[in-house]
């Protein structure tokens, strides 16, 4: 228990001390220290299960992913430019640390109410992070993000209340303590729908995804990497826990059918907008929606689908974070978000171009990345369940996504113009590190419970 206290004490103390600090270097150093502490505790928790705040395996898995991402982002921030004024940067760092603390709390919490509170806290803190650049569009994105997510999560709270209603005698929100035979199926189904819609908005599933492209494309690169890499998984956690509850309560197939439907719609909507978008950061945001849809498909299949789902979560967050960081590099070279007028990336900065292409290949599920295996299992699972038409549609959708993403990245790397630009070393190292871990995972494929 003691380690958990350290985990939360540090951000608060650091936030206070940050108020006094003036120079950027010290602020970055604080963040780095927090990241190291975060990773250290995570590994310690991994070795001695349950030592870190009695966290179960699912929570620990998500915790470890966000700590690796946080480490990479912390290193990446060392390389960032110095143009922003220190006061705004100080606010930004404080909120970053609070954001990470809220995410860890959401992973550790067992009680659905507590999870709800900390997820709401992450929304608030990340809204501040998104609006760091004070441009008109980032403000609007932050407002939309905050507003739509809080409305969504309020609906999730309604679901939680209905869950209490569903348990006749000593209703409790501690998931593992709920007595299954006594639950009334009628209320459980309604509460599951509310929770699914609530946290679905937070994950960005199809009809509720509208805030995600704006928020992820307007936020600065390290933040959007954290958002799409770590935050989406943390929001996915309660859904997985409730799905396990539904399975035990015997309503397994309704929850799986809902997952499959939501997953399929979000892959479809993502394809529609990937083909249409003009801005490469929005492209990555839509691909996050698509991958979240694939994860929902995987969990909706059950059996080896669950293994594919975890693999997909791991692969997606690593590779997506690397992609966002590289997009940050491209932005710092071209200062323009529309991929139409980005030309000659290979010529201007060869390392970023190769990072971008490799990461893109891995997000599309080409072999070195674990997404390939999970894509294989998803297709097999779908065929196993007899959905032949959706399988064909899925292959077509993935092919059109691949087509449009490769076309865009090829047009970005095509001509030979502009002068060569060198970026600080860290901006290459952290995405490369993430891709390396993803390849290792892709080949070695760890075992999950």
């Amino acid at each position: 228990m003691m380690l958990a206290i350290i985990l939360f004490a540090y951000p608060i103390l650091a936030a206070l001390s940050a108020l006094m600090l003036k120079s950027r270097r010290k602020l970055d150093f604080l963040v780095l220290l927090h990241a190291l502490l975060h990773l250290g505790l995570g590994l310690h928790g991994f070795i001695k299960r349950g030592s870190l705040g009695a966290m179960d395996d699912m929570g620990l898995f998500i915790f470890l992913i966000s700590s690796t991402l946080y480490m990479a982002v912390a290193f990446y921030r060392l390389g960032l430019g110095q143009d922003h004024n220190v006061k705004a940067y100080r606010v930004h760092t404080i909120f970053l640390m609070l954001f990470i603390a809220a995410m860890d709390a959401a992973c550790m919490a067992k009680d659905l109410g507590l999870i709800w509170i900390f997820v709401e806290a992450t929304t608030i803190t990340s809204a501040m992070l998104i609006s760091y650049e004070h441009t008109k569009s980032s403000l609007e994105a932050a407002w939309k993000y905050l507003f739509i997510c809080s409305v969504g999560i309020a609906l999730a709270f309604v679901g939680i209340l209905l869950l209490i209603l569903a348990q006749p005698e000593n209703a409790t929100l501690l998931i593992h303590k709920i007595s299954y035979p006594a639950i009334s199926p009628f209320w459980l189904k309604i509460s599951f729908v509310f929770i699914l819609v609530g946290f679905g908005t937070k994950i960005g599933l199809a009809p509720l995804h509208f805030w995600l492209p704006d928020a992820h494309s307007e936020a600065p690169a390290p933040i959007s990497a954290l958002l799409s890499g770590a935050l989406l998984n943390t929001a996915l956690l309660p859904l997985l826990r409730v799905e396990r509850l539904m399975q035990r309560a015997g309503l397994g197939n309704t929850s799986q059918q809902l997952y499959l439907m939501m997953g399929f719609i979000s892959v479809f909507i993502a394809t529609v907008f990937i083909l249409k978008t003009k801005n490469y950061k929005r492209l990555l945001a839509y691909s996050s929606i698509e991958n979240m849809g694939l994860i929902m498909l995987a969990f909706g299949l059950g059996g080896f689908g669950i293994y594919a789902g975890y693999l997909h979560i791991l692969g997606h967050s690593l590779v997506k974070a690397a992609l966002f960081l590289t997009a940050g590099n491209i932005l710092s070279i071209y200062h323009d978000k529309h991929h139409a007028n980005i030309k000659g990336l290979f010529y201007r900065n060869r390392a970023t171009a190769w990072l971008w292409l490799l990461a893109l290949m891995m997000i599309l599920g080409f072999p070195p990345s674990p997404l390939f295996t999970s894509k294989f299992f998803i297709i097999t699972g779908l065929i196993g369940k007899g959905y032949y038409l959706p399988v064909i549609a899925l292959i077509l959708l993935l092919a059109s996504i691949a087509w449009s993403m490769i076309r865009i990245s090829l047009s970005m790397c095509s001509s030979e113009e502009g002068e060569k630009i060198r970026l600080p070393l860290w901006t290459y190292l952290s995405p490369a590190l993430l891709l390396l871990i993803a390849t290792v995972v892709g080949i070695w494929m760890p075992v999950f419970e």
Partner: protein, 210 residues
């Protein structure tokens, strides 16, 4: 006694769908805060003194006093146009409000048979408030009205949590109200900043797939 308070709560909803003045909506929020404070006092008789006092104070301060003052203050400073520009006429929103009442009461009665512990009236009104809050967001152009619709929805959810029966543990209810307060504060902060950067306060449509 509780039933009367809940009915008055329903009437404030009807009143909200008619007004087209921002200040009157703030008055509705204050009124709803007070009603909720009343209901919490009546409902939680068996709590020990400390817990009871804590929740009562919390609902009173947050819902009735702090948030409405804060919103009216922002309206005054930023000279947001006092008129509530709604997409739909009042008549239509009233008709829809009655429809929502009908639907939520049917759900409450129908679900009443399912499990005995439910107070159909409170559940119906709470459900109606939530849907009404959502509808206010959808039907209005200005950002401030979005925020108010969100607050009405939160009041509905609080009423639902009361009607569910067993009280939530204090930490959770405290956390919830803290979160709501924070989101409102930051929301207002954003509106101030958007107000300063944009010329008009209605929701900016700049971020879209052209």
């Amino acid at each position: 006694m509780i039933e009367i308070l809940v009915l008055v709560f329903g009437i404030t909803l009807l009143f909200a769908s008619i007004t087209n003045m921002l200040s009157s909506i703030i008055r509705i929020l204050v009124l709803q805060g007070l009603i909720l404070f009343g209901i919490t006092i009546l409902k939680s008789t068996h709590l020990n003194w400390l817990g009871f006092g804590f929740i009562a104070l919390e609902t009173l301060i947050f819902k009735a006093i702090v948030i409405p003052w804060f919103i009216s203050d922002t309206i005054k400073h930023n000279a947001i146009h006092r008129e509530v520009e709604a997409y739909v006429s009042n008549f239509f929103s009233l008709a829809l409000m009655s429809l929502i009442f009908l639907g939520s009461f049917a759900l409450a009665v129908f679900s009443g048979q399912q499990s005995g512990r439910l107070f159909p009236l409170e559940f119906g009104i709470a459900f109606a408030t939530i849907i009404k809050g959502l509808f206010i967001i959808i039907a209005n152009k200005k950002l401030i009205t979005h925020l108010m619709g969100y607050l009405i929805m939160e009041n509905g959810i609080f009423l639902l949590s009361l009607s569910v029966g067993t009280d939530l543990p204090h930490i959770i209810s405290l956390g919830i109200s803290l979160d709501i307060l924070l989101s409102v504060l930051i929301g207002v902060l954003f509106i101030k900043r958007i107000k300063s950067t944009f010329d008009d306060a209605d929701s900016p449509g700049q971020l879209r797939e052209e």
